[in-house]
Symmetry: D2
């Protein structure tokens, strides 16, 4: 249950409400106090009803993210870039799987910036499944990304792998990416709940839509309203492709949640050949962004070599998107 | 291994080749004799090499359907309707889940014909998972479909459920649909291998892409070159939607097989709300057709009530597709 | 809903009941007439209530197979062999994947008969996923199995692949096996519903437990009470083993259905090394039988070479089972 | 590749080896220095070959855990309790899902201690998927577990949820449990690599066997040899049970890895009714332990209410296990 309390409610009355309905509490930018309890609670306690301006009950723990709480898609501001809300923007986010060295990243950033791309991706803390693979440059990578931001005026998004370095990623990144393997990590989610920077949560490959949105609730219930969801493929019996891209799931998220949606066909497909088609399909679905891996020389990449587009492939795909976006009433940015 | 023998090879020499390489044998329309063996065979036997004009070896049993055998997508003619090949057509196939009675089907056909739709779907032998559900009208349904064909000049597609009625479906239908639950059925596949009518095979919800294409090989190896594949969603852990629509799999099929592709987002999604978005996404992927369920009054439908679009929903979705098709260089028909 | 009508109800009154409650109708061996409708029907029509001796309502279409209809596990008689009921028998069924030739089958039958095994398996119509693989000996294989039955006094079980040869399998086999790829095939299910021979239905690898039991309802509702279920592994993301053996599913079937359960770890595992452990685990679960593939020379097998035990492996495994069975109060037969 | 260097190799020569083969390095209890690189390395560099006493190459990054490196199952000592090695022990680990309060835990510990159970489980940091569910008592719970250990002489195992509290769990627990949702968490894995306490890693429900064992490699490659694997069910399309218990996967782990195996049928099944059967099946498979949830009053449990056995159910199941263990040559402890 979500309760709205007046912006000028006294401290004592806030405490009375929380005593009657123990739960999360934060104050919105517009001053309204929000209290959230388990969805099992269905009725406002009469002793504190006088302090409650509005209340919302739910079938399950998708509450703050639900369109039945807030119908309009949330607006996310990344500096002067607007996603969601009434923008009809579909943003292209691109960059290499991993920041491998300064030269590789700056070269890629320069190329993408030249195409007009505004948000740069690049992994620094790689959640590799083997200890014997390249693990990323860590803090050094963050600094390289920051240099690209300064030089090209792009925004950056990078992934936090575990709670031990969440503070660094929060400090350096414009959008905090919580990866598919880390999305249940409460150490990360709770750290992201305390900030206002946008957070993009990727769906775990074994994660149900219900659990996925509930991960967002960990962030939202701490008072950070700026959460984006990212579908990147789930693990199924089919192994000809790396994962299975769940666009039915995306359609469900569009229908039932108010969170902007960024799609990642690169990880779903796992191979270069299908990615341009999947990018066009994703844009036609009507979404808020795409995040695509590209690398100057994919065969030399230290991670995800098979799925990173080279620059020519990327450009050709990228230039095909505005027409598709326009056909569904959206604008590529 | 596939062997091509000259169109004027003698009967005795044909037999010599088949003695050396036991396998399937048929004569193509252009006269060439085709012999297909297991892909484990990699070399033409020297004793009959003189009769072999061309030979093709493969890594696995995707042979006739492989782009490494025939690079161009197959052209399928359904009367004067052309799919695949160099047509760049994306066909809309629509109609109710089940033919429920004459009035419902004729009413639907009239509406769809008015929109310019050329191919009508409707199930007569329903592969229901419970014996206690509506099982379809059977032969009576086929006759109603044929009446709609005669009246409106539409082509019809309907599903064969098991081998006991495959002859009737072959007689009445313009495209034989082999459903997701029947696609391993050799009684059906072998009957369809003996005809030249187009056959659309739906992927089983637990079927790998490899097995899916191998089902097509059962038909192709009997001499029927007119096979279309249809993705309709696979079964995964996600249950908020009915199935999981595997567009990575479609991208793989486009890359590696020469079979035209028709997509069925209705069964994948299972709910009306996501289907228009998924139709647009599918068209943007660059495909040969869509097959969509629509019903005059979906809540009264005897099967798949949740996923059939009403006419207004269908029309709105349908009219949004040409712009998407055009954006990817295709034409809706 | 299931209705029980008196054994001496008149023909006219039977018809009145069926007019009020259209559905399946058969007469049990004890004379009781059974009428089954969709589980959506929850109330006996008052106009015919006087003819109804007993009625049972259900949440879903698992009706005749439900323990809430008949609590005790069904007793299945295969000649003088008793499975299920109060027998506490766990039967070993063994034999090669395919009947490859007379010598291979007779040799195997002789060996297994020497160990005391009473039921022989062997495939004649192989549901291969490629047309270019060995497809089985067909009717010739059935005759070889029949010869083994005559010579060694064993019962035989063999698989029907599609409806075109269901009559032959019904004629020759003591237990009709409906395979994982054929279990939705109504041509087969309905043919098996008209006989009284035991029918073993294997779960499809993409089949839910609900659909699995509903396949049994197709047979049961036609009047054949002798249905056995067989778990043989489902298809999941894990590919180190051929399939994933669903023993939680078996536990669910034990709890909720009255059908005897035979387990097939050979197909689940797909590799010889794990099968003995899985056999012991299966027996410890408390089941009615095991069906295991064994071959005189597995590496030469024409199908499933990797998973067939050689005779020494089979014997060693088989001799370890009685102690496990005894530990859970059952007897190996 | 794994290299063994002599126990008395000089510091300079160690460094020469690591310069030629950058990788992980630790010294075993017996003094041998172990260096591990990516499995892509297949040959010892000739310049340092003189320092290498033994070398092992591998097909993939399952290296230290592989039976091809060390054939015998690892021996794990938890105080005076021995698992694995040549012990043939199957240990019962039991306790509530969550430590809810002092009384509940002490009552449960007393009961289990009375049955002879030596290892107590209880969650303090619950990895709930909703922020609105009970999250565990945290450090207070750890202290209650420690009190039970002191009072009853039992060993305790409890779960670390994320890296923010891994130090506390390492301090208090006798076995560190890394849960299914945390098993990719390098913050946790690397902390556990630096200690010698036993670590039990649960398989993620979307995790392949390959990734599962590679998670163990993160711990092993840091120098902690005491890793146990725990199968607890994977997520599949079947939803009648909570997860699908992957015993084929367990058979694969037994065959290819040297890590002791503890099985958790409670989470796989998710319902009380199947757990006793699954416990017996698991023991018959030949494993090193079971971890089972039990609660004084399951319907009142704050988490996993449906799957916790009450004491009578637990006792009945527990007393049935020694006969099964004996039938497969093992002893319950």
């Amino acid at each position: 249950m979500i309760l709205h309390l007046s912006s000028d409610i006294s401290q004592a009355n806030q405490e009375a409400v929380l005593a009657a309905h123990p739960g999360f509490h934060f104050q919105r930018e517009d001053g309204i106090h929000v209290v959230i309890t388990s969805s099992k609670e269905k009725e406002v306690n009469s002793t504190i009803a006088q302090f409650v301006e509005d209340s919302f009950v739910f079938d399950n723990d998708i509450q703050l993210a639900s369109r039945s709480y807030q119908e309009a898609t949330r607006t996310i501001n990344i500096g002067d870039i607007v996603l969601g809300g009434s923008s009809n923007h579909t943003a292209m986010i691109a960059g290499p799987c991993s920041v491998e060295n300064r030269e590789q990243l700056m070269h890629t950033a320069e190329y993408l910036n030249g195409l007009g791309i505004k948000i740069l991706r690049g992994g620094c803390y790689k959640p590799r499944t083997s200890p014997y693979s390249f693990q990323g440059l860590g803090l050094e990578g963050l600094k390289i990304l920051a240099e690209a931001r300064d030089k090209f005026g792009m925004k950056i998004i990078t992934e936090v792998r575990d709670a031990t370095h969440v503070a660094e990623v929060i400090e350096y990144s414009d959008i905090i990416q919580i990866g598919a393997k880390a999305m249940y990590d409460q150490g990360i989610l709770k750290a992201c709940a305390k900030i206002k920077k946008p957070v993009m949560i990727k769906r775990g490959f074994g994660t149900t839509l219900q659990e996925f949105v509930q991960a967002a609730e960990f962030v939202l219930s701490g008072g950070n309203p700026n959460v984006i969801l990212c579908e990147r493929g789930i693990r199924t019996f089919e192994t000809k492709t790396r994962f299975t891209y769940d666009l039915c799931g995306v359609a469900w998220l569009k229908q039932y949640t108010n969170l902007p949606l960024i799609l990642d066909p690169s990880h779903a497909m796992g191979y270069r050949f299908g990615i341009p088609d999947l990018c066009r399909a994703s844009v036609a679905l009507g979404i808020d962004g795409l995040i695509i891996e590209t690398h100057p020389t994919p065969p030399q990449a230290l991670s995800d070599a098979a799925q990173q587009l080279d620059f020519a492939e990327f450009k050709s795909m990228y230039e095909s998107l505005p027409a598709v976006a326009q056909a569904v009433g959206r604008t590529m940015i």
